[in-house]
């Protein structure tokens, strides 16, 4: 009797592993930028219900997204950057779809006592030339620089649009918007940069640059200079039939006005300007 | 006085060793020994500690296999059991053993006795109960435990545990029982009871017992072998060994001059 009881238990435990051989077809794996992840997840969930497709969205960062999609390990690679801007990625192999725009706000701890800075002052702060808030009209408090980690897309965009090639001073690096948010809110004199969606926490001050407020409207006409596209990359050689359908779904007006707005992104269709790989901005011919 | 005096008992021989030696690595712990143990008799092995008597005993049921190299022959019922082809597990059904420190399983009294039996194929519950009863009776433990066989063996006293080990061993109905200083960890009363038990067991088991206790050997054994520094000097009826030993070394030991 004892033997049969053990055998039964064993079978019961092994049943789930049988599922291991199933690898169903209509499934989409999306990996990459953590900034684009919430959008991809929410759109993926709604698309999944409508078309009975399972869409798995993972984070991992822009670097992982781009390298995995070039190796065809995943269907879509999310990235905050142009593939060309990332060393070691062969952009010719990839198809670029811009699905949204993300504005990056400059945030400081409420103790800084500063509401507005000029672009040059901002550049000098991050270059380490200005080290105390009183030099820009704030309280007498040392400035604490908090960067995003080196490979992050947000950091690349910020440094391209603000530093114009000048190196940034050393300082603390955090690898996620969440920790930047918490640390700037908690550390007196701290300054950093965050995507709009993350910047609207109560004890965070959103700096104006040259009198321009970090709003979506100011991004559409490039009054607010610090912004970038959110890209979804496909591998040219992969079977992208399902992936293309999903991207069209995201670029459809219905999604661009609903989820995109809710999550704090800016819709592609509202943009009056475009930005190329080296950050130059061009007027879009009357949309 | 002779150099050695090894007697071959006249009765039927249950087990005998031919030129058996035991080496721990390069050290020869036991020199060539030739002993023949009479059937259904108690043979005691005496000698100072380290004289090789336990080593000899443990080689009989191949308990020394991994630890030492045993050469020579051990003839049991006409077969040389000291060779690799022998199935050691089957062999130990025929040659049981009880150790110095009582080592009952951490199970109930009933399970202690039936566990090995069930493993060797005795499945029928009714038959098991019967064997448990007869073995415990033979080990003079039945009356004390018969109404609570499910009690854990670890709750028994030292003496009771040792008798449980006896019951467990005889439950397999071995032909030979090896006892390695079985009473050295017991109090005098349990020791005396233990000796009575093995005297009764003599009818259907050949018993070979290692002991430090000279009086025990004299009282309860029929034959006695005297070991000294890894060599058997004398093997004869216990009465001769203790009244007029032929070998001077035995005489010194028996009269307690050393050892």
């Amino acid at each position: 009797m004892k033997k049969t009881k053990i055998a039964l238990l064993l079978i019961l435990l092994l049943v789930p592993f049988l599922g291991a051989c199933s690898h169903n077809k209509n499934q989409l794996t999306i990996v990459g930028s953590t900034a684009l992840q919430p959008l991809a997840e929410e759109a993926g969930y709604q698309y999944g219900i409508k078309h009975n497709v399972t869409i798995n969205v993972q984070g991992g960062g822009t670097g992982t997204g781009l390298s995995q999609v070039s190796e065809k390990a995943v269907n879509i690679g999310n990235s905050d950057l142009f593939a060309q801007q990332k060393q070691g990625i062969d952009s010719k192999k990839l198809l670029d779809y811009k699905v949204a725009v993300v504005g990056i706000a400059v945030i400081t701890n409420s103790t800084s006592g500063v509401k507005n800075v000029t672009m040059d002052q901002l550049r000098n702060i991050f270059a380490g030339k200005i080290t105390n808030w009183k030099q820009v009209g704030g309280k007498d408090l040392p400035i604490v620089l908090i960067h995003r980690s080196k490979g992050s897309g947000t950091r690349f965009t910020f440094e391209q649009d603000v530093m114009h090639g000048q190196p940034v001073a050393g300082g603390q690096e955090q690898d996620s918007n969440g920790s930047v948010q918490k640390i700037v809110a908690a550390t007196p004199g701290a300054i950093s940069y965050l995507a709009f969606a993350y910047a609207n926490k109560k004890n965070l001050v959103k700096l104006e640059i040259d009198g321009v407020k970090p709003t979506k409207a100011n991004v559409t006409n490039n009054n607010w200079k610090i912004w970038s596209y959110e890209h979804m990359y496909l591998n040219k050689k992969a079977n992208n039939q399902l992936a293309k359908k999903f991207i069209n779904y995201i670029e459809s007006p219905k999604i661009q006005t609903s989820i995109i707005e809710e999550l704090g992104y800016i819709s592609i269709h509202q943009m009056k300007v475009s930005k190329d790989i080296n950050g130059k901005v061009h007027q879009l011919k009357g949309e | 006085m002779k150099e050695t005096n090894i007697v071959i008992p006249s009765q039927e021989i249950a087990l005998k060793t031919i030129d058996m030696t035991v080496n721990y690595g390069k050290v020869e712990a036991l020199h060539k020994t030739n002993l023949s143990f009479p059937k259904n008799q108690i043979s005691a092995l005496i000698g100072a500690s380290g004289s090789g008597k336990s080593t000899f005993l443990r080689s009989l049921n191949r308990m020394n296999d991994k630890v030492a190299t045993v050469n020579g022959q051990i003839i049991f019922d006409g077969i040389n059991i000291n060779n690799p082809k022998i199935n050691v597990y089957e062999l130990r059904k025929h040659i049981g053993m009880v150790f110095q420190m009582p080592n009952p399983f951490a199970k109930s009294i009933y399970d202690n006795i039936t566990y090995a039996l069930r493993y060797h194929g005795v499945k029928d519950k009714q038959k098991l109960d019967e064997i448990v009863e007869t073995s415990l009776k033979k080990a003079a433990l039945w009356d004390q435990v018969k109404d609570d066989l499910a009690k854990s063996a670890l709750d028994l006293s030292g003496g009771q545990q040792q008798r449980l080990c006896i019951a467990r061993a005889i439950a397999l109905k071995p032909e030979i029982l090896l006892l390695d200083e079985p009473t050295s960890a017991l109090d005098p009363i349990s020791t005396a009871k233990f000796e009575e038990t093995i005297m009764e067991l003599k009818e259907n088991y050949t018993i070979i017992m290692v002991t430090h206790n000279m009086q025990q050997a004299a009282r309860s054994s029929d034959y006695t072998a005297f070991f000294h520094l890894g060599k058997v000097y004398e093997f004869d009826q216990s009465s001769n060994i203790f009244q007029n030993p032929q070998v001077e070394l035995t005489q010194n030991y028996v009269e307690g001059r050393f050892g």
């Binding site: 599922g19 996620s176 918007n177 | 308990m63 951490a106 499910a150 080990c165």
Partner: protein
């Protein structure tokens, strides 16, 4: 300062130190529970999570955590038991066995992110298993094995070798004696090892981010066919565990109430671990009593 006084001082020093640790634990627990419990209502536990809107629950994440724990135990316990027994009973006492023991200790000191990436590159990418419970379970197995194996080995070595002798003398093979006689005696310490190991992997996040993934597709708990993607039993679906969910809420979380949900999730996670410990203790004692016949 005679010995008597030193003895008294030592006793008080030890007791104060134990009290300090107890205080730290209570402070930590109360900090987590006070922040977490108010919004960890029952329906919070049985609601799916929300990406944007507030009021999301942790139903799928909690299920994934428990399911992953069970699966990784199903894989690692037999392996650890086998290896533990081999090292304690059969392995020859030579340099090779000592080398193996050191290797196992090294496995336990590997940082979780390194193990996570190893399984990610090998299992998720190269073997095309993809982000799934299976990959997560394999990653967690790597954490379970060293702790379980060394605890089991110690447990077997701690058992008095006379029990083995007793079994052999009755014509039982070493394997049968180990399985039938010695194993039951080690059950309590094996259960203890399982508790310690599961406590650790229940809170593991770093390794799972790259293996069992960060997305929790909505599950239909009625559907028990392990092949369909919405069934909870399917091992090929990505499964964000509770710990990963807490990590995601605090790093990339855009949900409106991410702080509240993460605090509540932490509280739930600790309570589940506490329940798990108590249940495992109870089970351990019962098993020991049944197997060794002690009343």
């Amino acid at each position: 300062m005679n010995a008597k006084r030193i003895d008294k001082i030592a006793r008080y020093a030890i007791q104060t130190m134990v009290a300090i640790v107890a205080l730290i634990l209570l402070a930590l627990l109360s900090y987590i529970l006070i922040n977490g419990l108010p919004n960890a209502s029952i329906d919070f536990i049985f609601k799916p999570s929300e990406a944007i809107k507030a009021g999301g629950g942790i139903r799928d994440q909690l299920f994934n955590s428990i399911y992953l724990l069970v699966l990784s135990m199903v894989i690692s316990l037999p392996l650890a038991l086998g290896a533990g027994i081999y090292l304690a009973e059969f392995a020859p006492n030579n340099w090779l066995t000592r080398l193996v023991k050191t290797l196992i200790e090294i496995l336990s000191s590997l940082p979780s992110i390194v193990v996570g990436l190893f399984i990610y590159l090998l299992v998720v990418i190269k073997w095309q298993v993809g982000f799934s419970i299976l990959s997560g379970a394999i990653a967690l197995t790597v954490f379970n094995l060293p702790l379980l194996t060394s605890s089991i080995q110690n447990a077997f070595e701690a058992v008095d070798h006379k029990q083995l002798e007793a079994g052999l003398a009755l014509g039982m093979s070493p394997w049968k004696t180990i399985k039938g006689v010695i194993l039951p005696i080690t059950v309590p310490s094996v259960v203890m090892a399982i508790i310690l190991a599961s406590g650790r992997i229940f809170g593991e996040a770093a390794a799972l981010i790259y293996t069992s993934g960060q997305s929790a597709p909505r599950l239909d708990y009625g559907n028990l066919n392990p092949f369909s993607p919405t069934s909870p039993l399917n091992v090929m679906r990505p499964a964000e565990t509770l710990a990963v969910h807490i990590w995601k809420l605090n790093t990339e979380g855009l949900t409106a109430d991410s702080d509240a949900v993460s605090a509540a999730a932490s509280a739930v996670l600790i309570i589940v671990v506490l329940l798990f410990n108590l249940m495992a203790h109870y089970l351990g004692n019962k098993l020991e009593r049944k197997l060794t016949g002690k009343k």
